[in-house]
Symmetry: C3
Subunit: 326 residues, 3 copies
């Protein structure tokens, strides 16, 4: 594992989760690993949980973090080649990236999609430019299309919950449902995409996606996953219900406020007493009803806590690899 930008990388996914569990029980055990190492976190978009959890993870490893909260406008980078830079862009990625690669040992980057031009977003220009011009390990803190750190935390939360309740689930494959939820504005596909990729790596889960017509995720992501437009059908016998809004992929960036997709306690009755997940921030009474978020079946705090431990596992793995390469 040289970088951590997607869950289809060739590293061992379950090793990362095991390492995360290990750190959860022993936060400071590898406190020497990051000594005199620096993590740069570049935020081209705002962040709360991702920034905090990653910074805490690095600190647990004895690694120093320096944050660059860079508004896309204030440090406008040029990503295209052979441009006469007489406009608003003040620096080319070809100059900016290498020096960040020199100042830091690992670089985390967050850069959201614009949701206006699908090809442009799928091109992952920002992330790929940093990968191309920075010669150090890169961690995606959420890119235009993916959010692998979130998916790792989600996977860990499901595993922990299953372990806790082993007798209940031991005789059948747990059914995990990713259900679309309404929202008041266009939201990226990143969390949904990475969660789907993550579940596809889990042969022991029965994974289903449900969303309104016109809101299917990219076929490149969902592949052969069963998709239904009938939320009721999907929720039947579900053990985990992951609620998440995303804007349309086909009619790119279109959004819907259709409140019939709100997850409430009535719908949960169809499930097998399912646990409910969401990556946060969640809009109460729009995506999920109050009574669901306030119930003890709600795992959102567990997911958020686990962000620290999976980030720590990712950083530690990158640090170990870079040491063994030297």
């Amino acid at each position: 594992m040289k970088h951590f930008t997607t869950l289809t990388d060739t590293y061992n996914f379950n090793n990362l989760l095991q390492l995360a569990t290990f750190y959860k029980n022993n936060p400071f055990i590898d406190n020497h690993l990051g000594k005199h190492k620096r993590l740069g976190l570049i935020f081209l978009n705002p962040s709360l949980r991702t920034r905090l959890s990653t910074q805490i993870a690095a600190s647990n490893l004895g690694m120093e973090t320096i944050i660059l909260n860079i508004d896309k406008d204030s440090w406008a980078l040029e990503f295209n080649d052979h441009v006469i830079m007489n406009g608003s862009k003040v620096e080319h990625i070809k100059e900016a990236a290498p020096i960040l690669g020199n100042y830091f040992d690992i670089l985390g980057i967050r850069s959201f999609p614009n949701l206006q031009n699908r090809a442009e977003d799928e091109n992952e220009l920002v992330l790929n430019s940093f990968l191309k011009y920075t010669k150090i390990p890169i961690i995606s803190l959420e890119s235009a299309c993916l959010h692998p750190l979130q998916a790792l935390a989600d996977a860990l939360t499901i595993k922990e919950t299953l372990l806790h309740q082993k007798p209940l689930y031991s005789n059948k494959k747990p059914k995990v449902v990713l259900t679309w939820a309404p929202h008041i504005k266009p939201i990226p596909h990143c969390v949904a995409n990475s969660f789907a990729q993550c579940m596809e790596l889990e042969p022991d889960y029965n994974f289903v996606i449900t969303n309104p017509q016109g809101f299917n995720l990219s076929k490149k992501i969902t592949k052969n996953v069963h998709i239904t437009h009938h939320q009721h059908e999907a929720l039947e016998n579900a053990d985990f219900v992951y609620v998440k809004n995303w804007s349309a992929y086909e009619d790119y960036g279109k959004f819907s406020t259709d409140s019939s997709w709100l997850l409430n306690s009535d719908k949960l009755k169809i499930t097998a007493n399912a646990h409910v997940m969401h990556c946060l921030p969640v809009r109460r009474q729009v995506e999920i009803a109050d009574e669901v978020l306030d119930s003890d079946k709600c795992l959102v705090q567990e997911q958020a806590k686990n962000r620290v431990w999976v980030a720590q596992a990712v950083i530690a793995t990158l640090l170990k690899n870079s040491i063994s390469c030297n």
Copy 2:
């Protein structure tokens, strides 16, 4: 002491001041206390001295600080229950607070009043919501109505000054005057409120408040303190003059630029060669005349320096308590 949000808490006020003095002479003596502990500082309003002094205090204790400079607009939190969150608020305090409580060991919060709705401000919705939903010690970095860290630093500064000049004051109770000053815009009551509460805890001081008619502080704060609308009368024989503007409490949020209340050197002649205090930032020639701020009777720098040591005493006390509770 589980939290530090007001000076009427039941802890021993003078113990905190003694601990502050101890740390002033031995800044790094408890550098082990904060090892692997994290302080989150959440600023919903801007800060200079409070942020720096608190961060330095934590660092002296070996504790890591992570700052969240969160514009009220950019991370608009919903504080009311059962709301359909289809407006500008992106996250509910019920989700936001617990995870901060998990990421940090102590949380400091700054949230100013709006000075438009008295009941709302006195309700301390932001501070109380964090107290309710975060299960860790909370430090107020200035709330809607109070600024207890400032008051502690002010009390320490007065004590130190008295100790320095013992013979002068030994035969009478020191007279401490809180005098209203003009300002060009509505200013919160926090500093004045907490200073008044603080002085009420000091039986050995003769404490007087003076302000124009219509500018009395809340009766809940001033209780039986002598209030006069004649600044001249208040300043007579004063040993300490604390200058501070606040907007009206009765006609809530009204302000006054009445320059007859400016503290200048002529007025100081009425006092017993008084020391002059202000929490900073101060508007020169509006609140206090240049010659007063530039004189050696001015204690504003001492007050600002002491912010570090009282914050260190507060953080250390909370750390010790949380350790002894485990």
Copy 3:
């Protein structure tokens, strides 16, 4: 050396470069020097390389850095005496500076010129006010007229390059050319000024400046340096070409987009296979052509890397001096 604000200070310039080289080879050797010491970095203007390199330099010395990203507008300081502060300025430098001097052991300050009033800019009001009212060592992170940290990094980069290629240069004085480049807006003189001052301290270099008519730097800076308006003449036989835009000094703040001054590969043919330098950020195809920036004669990354080591040498020298003074 009590402060580091200009290269005409009386300290030994070459000692600093030697110390920088030493730290480049032994980054953490003086990690004890900054223990329990704090560096405050005050940015009244944005910064990327300067902030990161200075923070990393301090960290290498075991020193804690606290950043104050202060927009000139949001923390509007009054610098003039005897003003009635009833306008937009919220705090006077006479109050703000001493407390920063108490909270920190060294203070770095960045404050750009407005390029509208030459006398005002040359007065260096911000930097000089901090020097006057803060009783601790001050480092300029780029002031209205000078950028000495950049010049030190530039000097180190030239020295390293010469050392690397000793046989080539041993028989003649290396020719170093500072050439003006076009730009789309008014740019400060700081980098050009400090580079010129720096080269004047190097008796073994043949230093030449070339710029269009009307764009001569201040005579106080350039003194007896040879200035030509014929770029071609300057580039002949050059070993180093430092490309930099600056606005007019005479017709103060005027700028020019004259693309005939762009440095391209054709012009480099006139040189002695010169190395090309720029402080970054650089506007590609406006100041320097792509093929030049992408060639192996381009030293811009080396310059940026060296920012860390010269900053570390400066901070270490100030720390050592302040210790020996106690």
